[in-house]
Symmetry: C2
Subunit: 199 residues, 2 copies
């Protein structure tokens, strides 16, 4: 299978998850959806740039971070399970406060203002699918915020291990520490205590 | 103006914010949308109940909280500016982990699974509007999560004063403290220090 074929397989697999799309529609939509394959390390968006696109992760990982006093502070890891990469800066067309970096080789749907309208008119099912994706993502993000508000650093780490354990193999610990709202030192301490609670 | 008329005025005002709806459509949709007017203190949803409805706040305030070791821990205030009250428990039809309480007399759009589909087919513009509301709310929630992750308690309070100062007059301080992820004592201390930084 060549590179183009493998992209199309991944996209078709993703679209097949939506029962309202039959085989013909999936093929037409797959041919129309703009997909990009940025390499690990690619910066998709810089601080103070106005976002030109929003993304959905089909494969790989996009990391969102802010630069605070010269230090990268990771606030989100977008992966296959948590794919919608967007922000109010895209919606409002204002300068972004974050960076978006491909933390792995990626396969992304890349939407922009110009193509958005056309798709929905041509395929009304897409509007319903987009709504469902947004709804799920909104619910997940709301839950993440409530959990974050209510939990101690240790509880946050335990919850992370339960819900996103695969990130431990995909991201360095100092980025995970930032994402959990703690210093790398606190994270190490918590991890050590969990492994050997007596020490 | 009687009670019914005043409800319809608020709903029409809300719908008029969407330029794709003309006067006739606004009236038809307003007649179709199910609106409820629960009093302050009404519990819309209890922990371990399966949600039957989702809500959108046109007027008033809905508070979301969890009961943890007998203590109410507030995680969100839904108001006119931040109206979508929904959760994965509604989407998945699983028992809720939170309570939803009307913290003021409310005017709410109350959607349920049965009416959802009908509306969109009859008024395709509603699908586009819903998508935009969801998108805005998702962006706002994502930003709130990033901000929460990156900020100290004092920064969180300052940000709250900048973005949602009206809540200070609408909710008791211990609920605001919980929502900001701190104890009421920490919140008092921060507030005192900001008022008289030398003390």
């Amino acid at each position: 299978m060549n590179h183009e074929q493998s992209i199309s397989t991944d996209l078709i697999e993703f679209l097949s998850g939506f029962p309202e799309l039959d085989k013909d529609k999936i093929e037409s939509i797959a041919n129309m959806i703009p997909v990009i394959t940025p390499r690990k390390g690619t910066i998709l968006l810089k601080e103070s740039e106005i976002p030109k696109e929003c993304y959905f992760v089909l494969k790989g990982m996009v990391r969102q971070y802010r630069l605070i006093e010269g230090i990268e502070r990771t606030t989100e890891f977008y992966t296959e399970a948590n794919g919608t990469v967007s922000s109010d800066h895209y919606t409002d067309q204002t300068p972004s406060s974050s960076f978006l970096e491909c933390a792995e080789d990626c396969l992304l749907i890349a939407g922009n203002m110009k193509t958005d309208g056309v798709n929905y008119e041509q395929f009304p099912e897409l509007a319903e699918i987009t709504r469902r994706i947004l709804e799920n993502d909104l619910n997940r993000t709301k839950k993440a915020l409530s959990d974050f508000i209510l939990s101690s650093p240790k509880e946050r780490y335990l919850h992370f291990m339960k819900t996103r354990p695969e990130l431990l193999n995909r991201a360095p610990l100092h980025q995970i520490a930032s994402y959990l709202g703690m210093t790398p030192e606190s994270l190490s301490r918590i991890r050590k205590r969990i492994v050997s609670p007596g020490s």
